[in-house]
């Protein structure tokens, strides 16, 4: 059946997101919060995250262009970004944030830039995957039960 097939696909996407380490337990927490009162809670949260993180990325880009680098500021912004990413369980992105902050503390400008590029890549990938996921989920229709990875 189409619906079942779609649901399976959705589940598969989600499963892979977890398997590949893009998402962690926090995402499941969000799903558990979703209820009749907030049927699209997870997507709303993720949308909020996109907005906030875009702003922070722009900020980081600008700050990284300065010369000399203001490591404290970079660290602060990244701290915010990390916090934000933790809200949806963006695991890989978070890991990259941690690495970036370490470079900041070591005052390693090159390391920061590299790490930032990597982080942006992870972020872009996650975003794409999530968009696909939500799209499929919408197409598949309301799920009766929450699929749990693993």
């Amino acid at each position: 059946m189409d619906k079942i097939h779609s649901l399976r696909q959705v589940a598969a996407i989600k499963h892979s997101l977890f398997e590949q380490g893009y998402l962690d337990e926090q995402f499941i927490q969000l799903e558990e919060l979703q209820d009749d009162a907030n049927p699209n809670f997870v997507e709303e949260i993720v949308t909020l995250y996109y907005r906030d993180s875009s702003r922070l990325i722009t900020n980081l880009d600008q700050t990284l262009e300065r010369n000399p680098l203001d490591f404290n500021k970079l660290d602060t912004i990244m701290h915010q970004f990390k916090g934000s990413s933790s809200s949806i369980g963006a695991k890989k992105v978070k890991a990259e944030c941690t690495l970036f902050r370490e470079y900041c503390r070591a005052r390693n400008g090159e390391g920061c830039r590299r790490s930032f590029q990597q982080m942006k890549k992870e972020y872009a990938t996650l975003r794409k995957k999530l968009e696909t996921y939500f799209q499929m989920a919408r197409q598949a229709g309301p799920k009766e039960t929450a699929f749990r990875p693993k």
């Binding site: 337990e25 926090q26 927490q29 969000l30 558990e32 919060l33 209820d35 907030n38 809670f41 709303e44 949260i45 909020l48 995250y49 907005r51 906030d52 602060t76 701290h79 915010q80 990390k82 916090g83 934000s84 933790s86 809200s87 949806i88 369980g89």
Partner: protein, 576 residues
């Protein structure tokens, strides 16, 4: 209505718990809101710390607990924490994605009742009601102590009360004294129905209703029956109200006396203090120790080297008493710590002044280099009282030392007394962030050390050491030091003010909790602390190393603070 140790308006507690969430991250704000709603809590969200403070101030009784992020753009989460703790005495939970031990420790020092790491699970939020519950129980107990304290006050004279004060204070603060404990035991909060005489526990809420009723009727026209009617608490009897009213009256008289005394005693008795101070100071210290188990060793200045006239002042007894009274009376809060009352402030102020005054006269300038062994952080949150005393004394001495620091605004939110240290009259009950006018002094100081010595007298005024702020140390040590790093109290080093400052700080620290005045961003006190303490105290962030410049110290016999031993104080610095 709950007849237990606290009045819980909601029968289905913890459902309906009123939570205020503060976080600049909109994503988390939304998630937390949803999670808390799922726990059946009443949630209010806020993305700005200032806005949150306004909300809290507008509706003093509108929230049960505050959850706040540590890193916020407009205000440091720790500052917010302090403010809330001081002004509203609500339990505050900190959150952060950063779980480093040092951060968590800082949170706890500033008074957070819990520190959550993001990502936060819902199950962690489910149990936050325990912090509210715990606080209520403590408050009820504090109230009890307050009442027992009050009776002690009534029974003895001021002087004799001094001992009692300590005792009571200790009791309230540490609950270690047997007597106090006994009283506490009587009222086992958890078992409301067990008390044989069905004693009423005057919880904060209940007392506030009482005060409201009294104010409404008009203090002069007040009578137990009228109050009872207005309060509209069904289970309360006229006799309960009558006895409470009696205590309240005495308490008010006491406060009044304190105030009077304070205004007149700012400059007082330092002279005789020296010898006595030690004793008194020592006295205080022990008390402090009790209270906090802090390494009061560092306070050994009371050993005699530091002749802080701490206890000498009667006022300080009064202060102590009042302080404790205040604290208890107002909110039944534990003395240590959040002196949210203005009263507290006053008392603390007085006390501080006294100590300052003392120190000035007697001791040499405390050398900033004094090895702070006081690990400020460890300083036990002494009851404010202690501080008051020392502060008071110091005040005088401070006058001599022009504390120059640019910011002398040690905001004395709570410790107006601090501000008013030098100017007794300025001691007011309200929370006036006393910007210690020491500014001019300080600047002088900075420039001219010797002259600064002379101006110590004035300095005290400006010694913006708010008992509260000083006290903060236990929790706010950090903020204080950090904020004031900018203070430049060069001259400070040499002055006894430094020592005073230290003493002050110490006192404050001791009483820290009690005195934790709402720290404002410009807690200038820090500078004081920073100066002196930075060097020695384990204050972290006291970043004023540059300030401390031994070379700056003028002829003042400075001193070196030995590690934690203010013996230098006696060396001489007799400023003035």
């Amino acid at each position: 209505m709950d007849n237990g140790c606290f009045s819980s308006p909601r029968r289905d507690f913890p459902a309906g718990l009123r939570v205020l969430v503060v976080d600049d991250d909109p994503t988390w704000l939304k998630i937390l809101e949803k999670m808390l709603k799922k726990c059946n809590y009443e949630v209010t969200t806020c993305c700005l710390a200032r806005h949150a403070l306004n909300l809290l101030r507008e509706r003093k009784d509108g929230y049960d607990i505050v959850i706040s992020d540590v890193n916020m753009p407009d205000m440091d989460g720790f500052k917010l924490l302090e403010h809330v703790g001081l002004e509203m005495d609500l339990p505050v939970i900190m959150m952060s994605v950063d779980g480093e031990t040092s951060r968590v420790m800082k949170g706890v020092q500033h008074g957070a009742c819990d520190y959550l790491l993001k990502p936060i699970r819902m199950k962690e939020l489910r149990n936050i009601w325990q912090h509210v519950f715990r606080k209520r129980i403590h408050e009820a107990k504090e109230f009890e102590s307050f009442e027992s304290f009050e009776s002690m006050m009534r029974n003895g004279s001021e002087l004799s009360d001094e001992g009692n004060l300590f005792a009571v204070e200790d009791v309230t603060s540490t609950k270690k004294r047997k007597d106090a404990d006994n009283k506490h035991d009587d009222k086992e909060c958890m078992d409301p129905s067990s008390t044989k005489k069905a004693r009423v526990v005057w919880s904060v809420d209940l007392h506030q209703k009482f005060v409201k009723a009294v104010n409404q009727i008009g203090f002069d026209k007040v009578g137990p029956k009228k109050i009872l009617d207005l309060m509209n608490v069904p289970w309360l009897t006229r006799e309960n109200v009558a006895s409470h009213l009696q205590k309240y009256r005495l308490y008010l008289i006491r406060i009044q006396k304190e105030n009077d005394r304070r205004s007149s005693s700012s400059g007082m008795k330092h002279s005789d203090f020296p010898s006595k101070d030690l004793g008194s100071f020592g006295f205080q210290n022990p008390v402090n120790k009790q209270q906090n188990d802090v390494s009061t060793d560092s306070y050994n200045y009371s050993d005699g080297s530091l002749q802080l006239p701490t206890v000498e002042n009667k006022s300080h007894e009064g202060d102590k008493g009042s302080v404790s009274q205040f604290t208890i009376a107002k909110k039944g809060r534990p003395l240590t710590g959040n002196v949210s009352d203005s009263n507290m402030r006053e008392s603390s102020r007085v006390g501080l002044n006294q100590t300052f005054a003392q120190s000035e006269g007697n001791h040499a300038v405390f050398d900033c280099s004094m090895p702070t062994q006081y690990s400020w952080t460890e300083v036990p949150p002494m009851q404010l009282k202690e501080e008051h005393k020392s502060l008071v004394h110091l005040k005088d001495s401070f006058n001599q030392m022009p504390l120059h620091g640019k910011q002398h605004h040690i905001q004395v939110d709570q410790s107006q007394s601090v501000a008013s240290i030098s100017s007794a009259p300025s001691i007011t009950e309200e929370e006036v962030p006393a910007c210690i006018e020491a500014k001019p002094l300080f600047s002088d100081f900075k420039n001219d050390q010797s002259s600064s010595v002379n101006s110590i007298g004035n300095a005290v005024d400006t010694f913006p050491i708010q008992p509260g702020s000083l006290v903060m140390n236990a929790q706010s040590l950090e903020p204080i030091s950090t904020t004031n790093s900018g203070l430049k109290t060069h001259g400070y080093n040499n002055l006894s003010c430094i020592s005073d400052l230290e003493i002050y700080q110490r006192n404050l620290l001791l009483g820290g909790e009690a005195a934790s005045a709402p720290l404002d961003e410009d807690l200038h006190f820090q500078w004081l602390q920073g100066e002196c303490y930075n060097m020695n105290f384990g204050l972290q962030n006291i970043g004023m190393p540059e300030y401390y410049d031994p070379g700056l110290i003028p002829e003042a016999p400075i001193h070196l603070y030995d590690s934690g031993d203010y013996s230098v104080i006696d060396q001489g610095l007799f400023i003035a």
